[in-house]
């Protein structure tokens, strides 16, 4: 495993697996497993934006939730940097979990359901703050106003109900709420997928500004490759619960290695007339179900460059070319 020592690691995920049981049969026994996240190893570096991209159902949300300790991992380690001390967050005690939660926050995809419809905005903010040690009500209110300002919302909105806001405003409120307890790392699970393009642009710009301002680290998940590429420093491409490629964002569209990345790139429509059509790499078939994944490389059944070995041996994730460019594909397997 080669990672750059230059940058400081904030969250490092090692061989993480999150599996869901599939129940069925007479006695609702487990008859299978959804390997939603399977053997994922990523390092999140302080201050960067790590993009995660992949098609629906490939395990992006599960990965995010596992990192946020909302799902219990089946296996693996997640080392978080608590002021220089690396602790495995899967084994934390209750107090440390709390500490962890004040350092890591999450923004979810659906702006419409991420605010409690029966609570005023201030109430939605108040309890997290109180739980995280802001004992003084006035201080809390101040903090709320500050974080709303950060997302360009006025304090007039404090006493309104969520249904009085548009999708973009709600997503900004959600971001503000994640920010209000001063986290270091924000995991964003498709924060803009549900928004219109013009609103999406507002939110993306805002997120970038805030990151700069507060020196935040982002894990940014999306299924839209261009958005991820635009937002991220490095991009992780996932397929069926596995990482197939990790690349510098700026390098990804120039030099995609994995055939899946290539296909994904070619499928992204470009708003320029008469281009792109010819280049498209047609992918046949659908993403297989994560319950019965093809043997060997998970992409083997749809891969246009499939070789015999692909259906038998699972390719490991290895660096290829540059140090920060990793790929899991037999085309690039180095003889060991």
């Amino acid at each position: 495993m080669t990672t750059s020592k230059r940058e400081e690691m904030i969250f490092s995920i090692k061989n993480l697996k999150t599996h869901y049981p599939v129940l069925g049969g007479f006695f609702r026994k487990q008859i299978g497993t959804v390997k939603a996240v399977d053997d994922v190893t990523i390092d999140v570096r302080r201050g960067e934006t790590l993009g995660i991209v992949g098609e629906s159902g490939c395990g992006k949300s599960t990965l995010a939730k596992t990192m946020m300790l909302l799902e219990k991992p089946t296996e693996g380690k997640m080392l978080y940097d608590f002021n220089g001390e690396q602790k495995d967050v899967t084994k934390l005690n209750a107090g440390d979990v709390f500490d962890f939660r004040s350092r890591v926050q999450m923004v979810f995809q659906d702006p419409y359901s991420s605010l409690n419809p029966s609570k005023r905005i201030i109430e939605s903010f108040d309890e997290p703050l109180r739980v995280h040690g802001y004992k003084n009500p006035a201080e809390r209110k101040q903090r709320i106003i500050e974080s709303l300002r950060m997302v360009n919302l006025s304090e007039d909105y404090l006493y309104r109900f969520p249904h009085e806001f548009s999708g973009g405003q709600r997503q900004r409120i959600s971001i503000a709420r994640a920010l209000c307890i001063n986290p270091e790392l924000i995991i964003c699970d498709e924060p803009v997928s549900a928004l219109d393009v013009s609103i999406q642009a507002q939110v993306l710009n805002l997120m970038k500004e805030i990151q700069k301002e507060l020196n935040l680290t982002y894990v940014f998940i999306a299924h839209d490759l261009s958005v991820v590429q635009y937002m991220s420093d490095r991009v992780v491409v996932m397929y069926l619960g596995k990482i197939v490629e990790i690349s510098e964002a700026s390098n990804l569209h120039v030099n995609p290695l994995h055939p899946y990345t290539e296909a994904l790139l070619s499928a992204v429509p470009v708003p320029v007339v008469n281009e792109g059509k010819s280049k498209r790499i047609p992918l046949t078939g659908d993403v297989p179900s994560p319950i019965n994944r093809p043997s060997g490389c998970p992409f083997s059944n749809r891969c246009p460059k499939r070789m015999d070995i692909c259906t038998q041996v699972e390719p490991p994730l290895q660096s290829y070319g540059e140090e920060d460019h990793q790929v899991a594909c037999h085309l690039y397997t180095k003889p060991i």
Binding site: V197, S198, L225, A267, V273
Partner: protein, 338 residues
Amino acid sequence: MRKLNSILKVENLTVSFSDGKESTKILKDVSFSVFSGKMLAIVGESGCGKSVTVHSIMQLLPKNGKIDSGKVLFNDGGNEVDLVSMKKYGKQMRAMRGQKIGMVFQDPMASLNPTHQVGKQVMENLMQHYKIPKKEARDKVIELFKLLGIPDPEQRIKDYPHQFSGGMRQRVMIAISMICNPNLLIADEPTTALDVTIQAQIMDLMKELQEKHDKSIILITHNMGLVAEVADFVAVMYMGRIVEYGTVRDILNNPSHPYTQSLLKSVPVMGLDKNQKLATIRGTTPNPKDYVKGCEFAGRCDFAMESCLTRDIPDINLTNSHQVRCLLVEESKEVIAK
């Protein structure tokens, strides 16, 4: 270039929705044409009235929606008929639906009846319009399934929608709309619910239908990239109006309405520099109820002038294929004219 025949002409379509006692204009004076064998893309943000437009064409508006005025002239094999004048669920209108105009909806799961076999759902359309034996209808469905790339169609027509993947379901929807071989196909965001790779498959299929089988297509989307790839003509909608209309080149290479311009610039494209800011549109879409007069976009427009809010905005022909509904253009045209 051969002469373009329009298969559908929408003229001054105005639609309103009532909510209890109040009634709100949702579509205002919408006019556009769809040309034979061409694909028209309607783009715009959520809620701008794209779906209402096509539902009005099909007379499938919900109960509280009403076409106030306007015409929908459909070229039925040389005969021009006004769909609006037909009774909503009358024989004439029903003969249009499915047979002359096919429709594909956004969510392929919700749009298929979960309790009917997919083959039956396709056959239902065919047998409604053609008195042919069941067996023959079935064979036709199988044939179409093959054409649309559904593997193993003999078996799969007996399956139920939930046994299909999203992409396959959308193919079935397309089969339903295509089985009677209509000349006009309306697709309301057919790929929004699908992954990019599947979207690419479906769009290739639709393009093929249009090009090889000479169908006219109305494609609703809010993905500018998609428009660029497949459409021939583009109508940009904002708040129930078409603010810009033209060929795909006109719109993408020479966007003339400020709204269109920002729409194009607000989407990140591959390779966009990380440090480059995205163009945004100020504020949010206003409530259609609050509209009084003038340009709906004025409140968010960086170039808004006083007159934008005080006078009716005309459609201005930039070229004979490119129309814009914006006073800026009027002025610059005047300047040019001078």
